[in-house]
């Protein structure tokens, strides 16, 4: 009961502010609504007992990436963009793509022949505390089983950092 109250609270916030993010004219408002969506998603992570990811989501996504976005929005000139039309002329393409995606998922649910939550066997039984202390488990898995992907991810971040510096540098 409490679980579903928490879930629907955060899910409502997430979907509502995602819709607002896509439709607002001002890019700063879009960024603020995206931050709200990301925070609500962090709440859902917490409801799923993924505490480490909850913290990472808040610190890295909201505190890092979104600050970068807002910084760039402030850097480029917004006043010009505000007085122009907001959407490109691709509404129908967007509508068709959204419908096709929904139809795919609908087909998946329909072909399973059962309601929401009964697609896979045994999904309704909530596993009772099968994930012990979360940060510890994630760290163990990250530094043993997934050590190579972890190192590759750090190389990727280094490359991205160099790329961003080169790209944003003033031409000599």
């Amino acid at each position: 009961m409490l679980d579903s109250v928490i879930f629907y609270f955060f899910a409502g916030i997430a979907v509502g502010s995602a819709a607002l993010m896509v439709t607002r004219r001002n890019a700063v408002h879009s960024a603020i609504f995206l931050i709200t969506t990301l925070l609500a998603t962090a709440g859902i992570f917490l409801q799923l007992r993924a505490e480490f990811l909850f913290i990472v989501q808040i610190i890295l996504y909201v505190g890092g990436i979104m600050v970068l976005f807002i910084f760039v929005i402030m850097l480029v000139n917004l006043d010009v963009a505000l007085h122009q039309i907001k959407f490109a002329r691709q509404k129908w393409v967007a509508l068709i793509v959204a419908l096709v995606l929904s139809a795919q998922v609908g087909l998946m649910f329909w072909s399973s022949g059962k309601g929401v939550g009964q697609i896979w066997p045994g999904l309704n039984a909530a596993p009772a505390n099968r994930l012990p202390p979360n940060a510890e488990t994630v760290a163990k898995s990250l530094f043993s089983e997934y050590l190579l992907p972890f190192e590759i991810a750090s190389v990727l971040l280094l490359v991205a950092m160099i790329g961003a510096v080169v790209m944003a540098k003033k031409r000599a």
Binding site: L38, G117, Q118, L131, T137, L142
Partner: protein, 100 residues
């Protein structure tokens, strides 16, 4: 934990909103933010299945996706700044240097 379908539907809704944003918006910064929204929707799926099967691998992959999102945002915003310096615009349909 609620039945998994709830999480899948939430993820689907966020994903479709992100796709609509990518296709329709003209401001490239908002397009990048919509891509972040899509990655975030994928993360919800991964964490939900991680919880369902009691396996922490899903959360590890969600971490990798967050790292990817950071790299993508840094490079994308660098490109936007470089482009804005040259053409004084952030609108997608005015970026037509390769079009003839």
């Amino acid at each position: 934990m609620l039945p998994i379908g709830h999480y899948l539907f939430l993820s689907l809704a966020l994903f479709i909103l992100g796709v609509i944003g990518v296709i329709t918006r003209r401001n490239v910064i908002v397009v990048l933010m919509s891509i972040e929204l899509i990655l975030n929707a994928v993360n919800i799926n991964l964490v939900a299945f991680s919880r369902l099967y009691g396996d922490v691998a899903g959360q590890v992959f969600a971490l990798f996706i967050i790292a990817d999102a950071a790299a993508e945002a840094a490079v994308g915003l660098g490109i936007i700044i470089a482009f804005f310096r040259n053409r004084e615009t952030v609108l997608a349909d005015e970026m037509d240097l390769l079009k003839w």
